[in-house]
C-alpha cells in the first residue's frame, strides 16, 4: 500500500496530538487544580502550571486529614483484589468445564449462564439487597466481593480461549492418566494465562471504578470504598475544590498506572470482546 506523504503524516499527527490533548483537558485541569492553593483553582485565565504550589499540603490534607481517605483506599484495594482473584478463579474453572469436560446438561447450563448476561444489574438490586440482608452479607466486604465475582462475561470470554487450545495436547495428558483437575492446573491454565491476565485487569478496573454496588450494599462509613468516599468528600467538604481534586487524582491514579503498564492486555481484551461480538 502506498504510504501517505510523510509531510502530510507529520502535519496530521501534530493536529491529532492537539486534538488529543484538548480531549484530555479535563484531566489536566484536575491535576493542575489539585496542586494549587484553594483561591487559585478558579482563577481565570486558567493557570495550567500553578504559579503558587500547594501540592504537598493538599495531598496531605486529603490523605491524613479529617476524612479517612487512606481507609477508603485500603478498603478499595482489599475488595478489588479479592474480587479480581475470585472472579478469575471461578470464571476459568467454569470456562474449562464448559469447553473441555463432557458432562450431561452442559449446553443447557451454558445457555443459562449466557442468559444471565442479559439481566441488567439495576433490575435485580432490590432482591439482591434482600437476600444479602437475610444472609447477613449486607454491609460487608464479602458481600461486595461476591456481587462482583460472578459474571457470565468472564466465563464466556475465557471459554473462547480454552476452546482455542489444541485438543491433542489435552488428550495426550489424558492418555497418561491425568484427571481434569491436573490437566486444568498443569496444562490448560498455563496455556491461556495471557487471557486470564487480560480478564483480571479488566475486572480490576471495573471493580475499582464500581460505584453502584458499594452504594447499595454498604452502609457503614468505615467500609466505604474510594468511589463512595470521594463522592461523600465532594458533597460534604463544600468549597475545598483543590482538596476534592487531590482526592479524585488519587482515585484515578492507580487505574492510569495499571492501564499504562497493562495497556496491551486491556486494549486487546476490549477489542477482542468487541470484534467477536
Amino acid at each position: 500500500m502506498r504510504k501517505n506523504n510523510p509531510a502530510v503524516r507529520v502535519l496530521v499527527t501534530a493536529l491529532m496530538l492537539l486534538g488529543g490533548i484538548a480531549f484530555i483537558l479535563p484531566f489536566l485541569w484536575m491535576v493542575s487544580a489539585s496542586f494549587k492553593p484553594e483561591i487559585d483553582v478558579f482563577r481565570y485565565p486558567i493557570e495550567w502550571i500553578p504559579k503558587h504550589w500547594n501540592a504537598y499540603r493538599n495531598y496531605r490534607d486529603v490523605w491524613f486529614g479529617d476524612y479517612p481517605f487512606a481507609l477508603y483506599y485500603w478498603n478499595t484495594i482489599k475488595v478489588t483484589a479479592w474480587t479480581t482473584l475470585v472472579s478469575a478463579a471461578v470464571s476459568s474453572m467454569a470456562a474449562y468445564g464448559f469447553s473441555h469436560v463432557d458432562f450431561r446438561g452442559r449446553n443447557a447450563l451454558f445457555v443459562l449462564v449466557l442468559a444471565t448476561f442479559m439481566v441488567p444489574s439495576a433490575s435485580i438490586l432490590v432482591p439482591q439487597f434482600l437476600i444479602f440482608r437475610w444472609l447477613h452479607l449486607f454491609d460487608t466486604h464479602l458481600g461486595l466481593v461476591l456481587v462482583g465475582s460472578f459474571s457470565a462475561l468472564g466465563t464466556f470470554m475465557l471459554r473462547q480461549f480454552f476452546l482455542g487450545l489444541h485438543p491433542d495436547c489435552l488428550d495426550a495428558a489424558r492418555m497418561d492418566g491425568a484427571g481434569h483437575a491436573r490437566i486444568f492446573a498443569r496444562i490448560a491454565v498455563p496455556l491461556v494465562r495471557p487471557a486470564i491476565a487480560t480478564y483480571a485487569i479488566l475486572r480490576f478496573i471495573w471493580t475499582w471504578n464500581d460505584y453502584a454496588n458499594p452504594l447499595i450494599f454498604l452502609r457503614s462509613d468505615h467500609l466505604a470504598t474510594i468511589q463512595l468516599g470521594i463522592q461523600k468528600f465532594a458533597s460534604e467538604s463544600g468549597v475545598f475544590y483543590s482538596l476534592i481534586m487531590a482526592g479524585t487524582v488519587s482515585a484515578v491514579l492507580p487505574l492510569i498506572a495499571i492501564f499504562v503498564v497493562g495497556q496491551k492486555q486491556v486494549i486487546e481484551g476490549i477489542a477482542l470482546g468487541g470484534v467477536k461480538g
Binding site: 467454569a94 468445564g97 442479559m118 441488567p120 470484534v275
Partner: protein
C-alpha cells in the same frame, strides 16, 4: 462377562466421573449466578405484582396484579425518564461516528498509534465519580472555566449547563459521548486492522479516491463492528446510572432523570419495593428487546 460389557461398564464409569468433574468445574459459577442473578430476577418479577415495602416485613405483602404496570404508564416522572433515556440513545451513533473517523486517521496516517489509543481511552478507564466531579466544576455556572471562557470571548449570557432545564440533558450527553468514544475507537481500530491492505491498494490502482475507499471498503467491512457497537451502546445507555446519580441526581426538575435512577429512588428512598420491581422489569424488557433485535438483525444487517 464378555469384553463388550466390560468396555461398556468402563465407559459408564468414565461418563459418571466426567459428569462429576463437569459439575465441580462449573459448580461455583452456577451457584453464584443462581443465587445472585437467577433467583433475584424471579423475585423481582413476583414483587412487581405486589404492593410492598421491604421494611414492612414479608407478612404485609399484598398482591395487586398488573396495577404497578398500569400505574407506570400514567406516571409523569417515569414518562419523562423514559423520554430522557430515548434521547440519550442519540449519543451512541454520534460517538461511534467520531470514533470511526478518529480510528481511520489513527490507523492509516499518524505516527505513534499507541499514544493516541491511550489518550482517547483515558476517560473510559477513569471512574465515573471522578469524571462527574471534575465536570461539575468545569461547567459550574458562575465560576467554572467553561463559562469564564465564554464570558471572556463575549457571550453575554452563557448557559447554566447542568443547572439549566434545557441544557442539563445535552450536557450529560456530551459527557457520556466523551467517556464512550475511547471504547468505540479501540474496537474500530481492531476491526480496521483486520481489513487486508491489498484491498485498498487495488482500489487505489483503479483510481478510487479516499472518500470512495472509505465508503466502499472501510464502511461495509466494519459493519459487523458497527452493529455490535450500536447494540451494546444502546444497552449500556439504557443501563447508565452512576453518571446520573453523581452528576445531577435527575435534576433540575427531572430533566436528567432516567429509568435506572427512578428505580433507585423508588426502591431505596421511597421504599416502594413493589413499584420499583415493575420499573426493574420494564428495564429488563427493554434490554431483552434490544438483544433479540441483535440476534435477529445480526444476519440481516451485516453486509459484506
Amino acid at each position: 462377562m464378555d469384553k463388550r460389557t466390560d468396555k461398556k461398564a468402563g465407559k459408564r464409569r468414565r461418563t459418571r466421573k466426567e459428569n462429576w468433574a463437569g459439575y465441580v468445574f462449573v459448580g461455583p459459577m452456577l451457584i453464584g449466578l443462581t443465587v445472585l442473578t437467577v433467583i433475584p430476577t424471579i423475585i423481582t418479577l413476583m414483587l412487581s405484582f405486589t404492593d410492598w415495602s421491604f421494611i414492612a416485613g414479608i407478612d404485609r405483602i399484598r398482591f395487586v396484579g398488573f396495577e404497578n404496570y398500569s400505574k407506570l404508564f400514567g406516571d409523569r416522572v417515569f414518562r419523562i425518564s423514559l423520554q430522557n433515556n430515548l434521547a440519550m440513545l442519540l449519543v451512541v451513533p454520534v460517538q461511534m461516528g467520531i470514533a470511526l473517523v478518529l480510528a481511520v486517521i489513527i490507523d492509516r496516517v499518524v505516527y505513534g498509534k499507541s499514544l493516541f489509543k491511550v489518550l482517547f481511552f483515558m476517560p473510559y478507564i477513569s471512574s465515573i465519580v471522578a469524571v462527574a466531579i471534575v465536570f461539575q466544576l468545569l461547567f459550574h455556572p458562575s465560576y467554572g472555566p467553561v463559562n469564564r471562557f465564554l464570558a471572556a470571548v463575549g457571550v453575554k449570557k452563557p448557559p447554566l449547563w447542568l443547572a439549566d432545564v434545557h441544557y442539563a440533558l445535552p450536557s450529560v450527553m456530551i459527557i457520556m459521548a466523551w467517556i464512550g468514544i475511547g471504547f468505540c475507537l479501540i474496537v474500530y481500530l481492531a476491526a480496521l486492522q483486520s481489513i487486508p491492505g491489498d484491498l485498498y491498494e487495488s482500489a487505489e490502482i483503479d483510481g478510487a479516491r479516499a472518500w470512495t475507499r472509505f465508503a466502499r471498503i472501510t464502511l461495509p467491512l466494519v459493519s459487523p463492528t458497527t452493529f455490535f457497537l450500536l447494540v451494546t451502546g444502546f444497552i449500556s445507555s439504557f443501563k447508565s446510572f452512576d453518571i446520573i446519580k453523581v452528576l445531577t441526581e435527575g435534576r433540575p426538575a427531572y430533566a436528567t432523570s432516567v429509568i435506572t435512577y427512578q428505580l433507585y429512588t423508588t426502591a431505596f428512598e421511597d421504599l416502594k419495593t413493589g413499584y420499583a420491581s415493575s420499573i426493574a422489569w420494564f428495564l429488563l424488557g427493554c434490554v431483552l428487546l434490544i438483544t433479540l433485535v441483535q440476534l435477529y438483525g445480526q444476519r440481516k444487517w451485516v453486509n459484506y
